[in-house]
Symmetry: C2
Subunit: 186 residues, 2 copies
């Protein structure tokens, strides 16, 4: 029998360039090492797979987040740990994901806007400030920070590896890895 | 450690009312009984989850099949068995799914058109014949039967439970359940 503790979803939310994908990439192999099936569901990559028709307006972002939630639900109920890295700026979308998936760990990657804008990994802040693109989260589109996330990572004084290690420790402490955690409803 | 033999995708293709979903529902619990994580990805249900924007023209059907393939790839690479039940009338879509997923078992649910039309589970054949709906597979849209499927189920003399048992036997014989099968490329 291959069945073990139930799967769950780790949902990393935060501003563009907050470090979500980088931390996710550090986190996945640590979960795999411990015997889990874990997979990075990166917002941008998943767009190519199931949401190539969608843009970045509010409705499109919500639809995309709801598809990612659907996908994560399937993975989690089959024993795996989807590690979602998605700006997911709206509280309502994340609450919808929580309700859909059930076993849901919201991780707020808390990096100040100024730091994110300074990194500007994809050059999007620059483009948004100069008006080349619109609907940029943090610039002309809101980011609604989580109010009761299971985990907050303050990335300012942590490397991505340290952030991943911190998340892993919290997952353990809260009972997610042993299957004893009690999911919080939306 | 929870890792066992690798997952794979079971893709049931066939005409509308051929019995795909019914057989899939019989198959999933049999796989679960043997210790696998297995999940029914029914074409109609998945549409609500990730393809509510799509219609039934050729391009929409291809896009939908490609999203289902993406989802199945994620499940299979995380050790689960997605059991897809989708008309998937075009050979090119199924080949695309095979290439995407890799570990792919194409099951042709071979039920003659006349029998399917006689069952007409959703009343769609009747609507198509009277011109109320268009693009109905088997009526005014083609169904391209698989040329080299891993498994063919001739449903005429089998109950759905017997069809599922037959598929399970073939999966075993071909080495899919022990992880020794060699996937056929597209």
């Amino acid at each position: 029998m291959r069945r073990g503790p139930p799967g769950f979803c780790i949902w990393l939310t935060g501003l563009p360039s907050a470090g979500k994908t980088t931390i996710g990439k550090e986190l996945v192999p640590r979960l795999v090492e411990r015997g889990w099936y874990a997979d990075l569901l990166d917002g941008d990559e998943i767009r190519l797979g199931i949401s190539s028709d969608l843009g970045f307006d509010r409705k499109s972002r919500e639809t995309h987040a709801s598809r990612v939630a659907f996908l994560s639900k399937l993975l989690a109920r089959n024993g795996a740990i989807p590690v979602v890295t998605l700006i997911s700026p709206y509280r309502s979308s994340r609450d919808h994901a929580r309700t859909t998936i059930g076993r849901f760990v919201e991780v707020y990657v808390n990096t100040p806007l100024m730091v994110c804008e300074d990194r500007d990994v994809k050059g999007l802040y620059k483009k948004a400030r100069s008006g080349q693109i619109k609907e940029m989260t943090g610039v002309d589109d809101p980011y609604e920070a989580p109010e009761h996330p299971e985990i907050v990572v303050d990335t300012l004084n942590l490397t991505p590896a340290q952030s991943a290690a911190y998340i892993l420790g919290e997952l353990e402490r809260q009972g997610w890895l042993s299957g004893t955690a009690t999911p919080r409803p939306a």
